[in-house]
Amino acid sequence: MMQGDSGRGGAAVGALAVLFLTTGLPNRLTAQDSQYGVQGLGTPGRWESVRARSTGGAFAPFDLTSPLMEASLADAGRLVAGAMEGASYRRSELAGTATSLRETRFPLMGLAGRVFGHFAVSGGFTTYLDRSWDVTIRDTVVLRGTPQPYTDEIASDGGVADLRLAAATRLRPWLAVGAGVHLLSGSTRVSATRRFDDSTSYQRLQQSDEVSYDGFGLSGSLLLDLTRALRLAAWARSDDRLRARVGSVVTAETDLPNMIGGGVRLAPSPSARLAAAVAWRSWSDAGPGSFNTLSWSAGMEVGSGLGPFRLGVRGGQLPFGPGATAPTEFGIAAGTGRAFAEGRGIIDIGLEHLRRSGGGLKERVWTFLLGLTIRP
């Protein structure tokens, strides 16, 4: 981890916090979207901080500000609060048509600290599923004997958040364990609009409603230090069902996946760290059009103090897609960070590029990541 630079006091931390929060009001606490999530449950969140995401996600199992694993909280020395923002620029190519999309998301916020001696607890939220999308459909319908061209716009705005309460402790100097409960909660504002070309005869059709979601999950994890330089991580999580409600009526119940994953981190020197991680998720439980996914990542972090450099790659599958096989994803990421106010404030930045393909769709995504960690 980074060390603080020359003292500037809490004022600098405050200034950074203000800057971060005024960059743009958080209209959505969701993650990065994808057209692959339109017909499925959505686009799963990353559960990674900017630091971990800048390494392709390889450091997520070992990063206490990433809500992937609980056992890493055992390394929390004092109160830590973190949040991140991501601004994505996405190019989607489908059926010969390219569309440029962009969105800003605030997918992560959390608080962690040590209580009762060896125990560390954490609370916060991250994106479980992003369900924000807006599609337009051009078609024709025969009404009263006459073909009537129209344009439909169906939009969903919102997502499902993972509210996590986690605890961890170090049972042995070489073994840390953790567990967490996850409340899945969220809502989407769905609107469906049809505009007929003949707007004189046929009025605009517009319907909207709010769909709320809830679910529950449990997770557990452990960290095992084989040597001072080599650390292993393992985690598992099980979520039950995601219930969709319109008003008080349950309109859909979808099984959520079980997940297992692991990672390894090698720190040959204090200023160089390498990590790799893998995760498997049984998203096919969610029904037709869903696939189990296996994702991997590898990354490194070199340097410390004023400016560490992070680099990573990731790959794997996406859980939802129209074809017989799961869409695939490959990405590279890089980033750095900077500590302020004697290490009480850390700002991390990262840049991620993703390439997704499958089912006739190609997506290219550039995401700028900005994270703020405060240690009062």
Partner: protein, 413 residues
Amino acid sequence: MRPGRILWLAAVVGAAACVERATAPAVCPAYCPNGSLTVVDTLLSGAVSRDSAYRGYVPAHRAGVMLAAALPGIDSRAIFALAPLGVRVQLGTDTTTFPIVGVDSLRLFLSITRRDTAAHNLTLALYRLPHSLDSTTTFADLAGAFTDSLAKTVNIDSLLARSNGKDTVTGDSVAVDTTKRVAVVMKLDSSQVPYTSADSGRLALGIRVGADSLASIALVVDTIRWFVKVDSIHGSDTTLVHKLYARGITFRSFVIDPPPAPFGSMLAVGGVPSARSILRLSVPRAILDSSQIIRGTLILVPAVPASGAPADSFKIEAHTVLADFGAKSPLVFDATRTDTALIRIGATDTLSIEITNLLQFWASDTLAPHTVMLRSQAEGANLAEIRFFSSATPLSAPRLRLTYAPRFPFGLR
């Protein structure tokens, strides 16, 4: 903080600034959402019931204009009474009055507000009528006067062809203003419109219109100006004073032959006195409450061709009502809750009136009566009338065609 650090922070903040553009074209079904909008179009044959027609909303004497027409099957004549001149008048500023001993002439100012420009040799014939005009006066009551009491005839087309629209011999003139309104001044001498002191100079006049064809006008009488002779003998001065006095209208109407026929089992809209039709609609609750209506059309089958002057194409308005009190139901005069349809004279085509606005209003106000009142947009302003088959004639009964969208399936996976 140092300037370099501020710049670095500014760059970071700028790069992370909020951006949003989420709309993308979809390719269905692979990349379309589960669930879609569906539209249903249905014809409800029995949706209209308890429909009937009423007449008398705007009688001739309350119409905004007088209608004069001489068309095949329609003869309409304008009638009006003028305020009496009196037998004595003031000459100066004091209250002394002097007797009227005679009339030089008078000028009648009237305006033709609507005419068929295809009519040629448009003439106005002015008749003296009995002073007993009122709202009960009928065409037959005045048949004699309109036969033997002609005061003057003016050919409007001839006047328009003259320089400045004036006939310097007769003193008549016409002028057309920017609104196509034809202002007519008719000069009458004392033989054409004699002053009778026993009647205090009371006048009642009537106007018939004529033309080669298509004789139909709407007119208003603005005023009349008397040029009178007053005996103002003061001492040895025996000069008769010539003064001008204006008088307005006290009553105006028009009489029509033949009078409107009974409705029978038909619905009717328009005519004079104006007729309205009331229709009660039964829209299934499942459509009105749970769907969004995007088009609603009331379909009416004319029982006879629309009658009236050929130029009198008119608009029918479909209003909803505040409360259903039958013929006296108060209408909702709100442009957003009113739909219209154009009727052409002589047409027998099935009439479709879009009533989408009314249906959407009923969907938003569940207490509103599902009642439609049909009326002419310009009630009493023209002679046009149309009659439809009512629900008493099942084969040609009014029908309702609805295009609506059931509720979008929100909350699918």
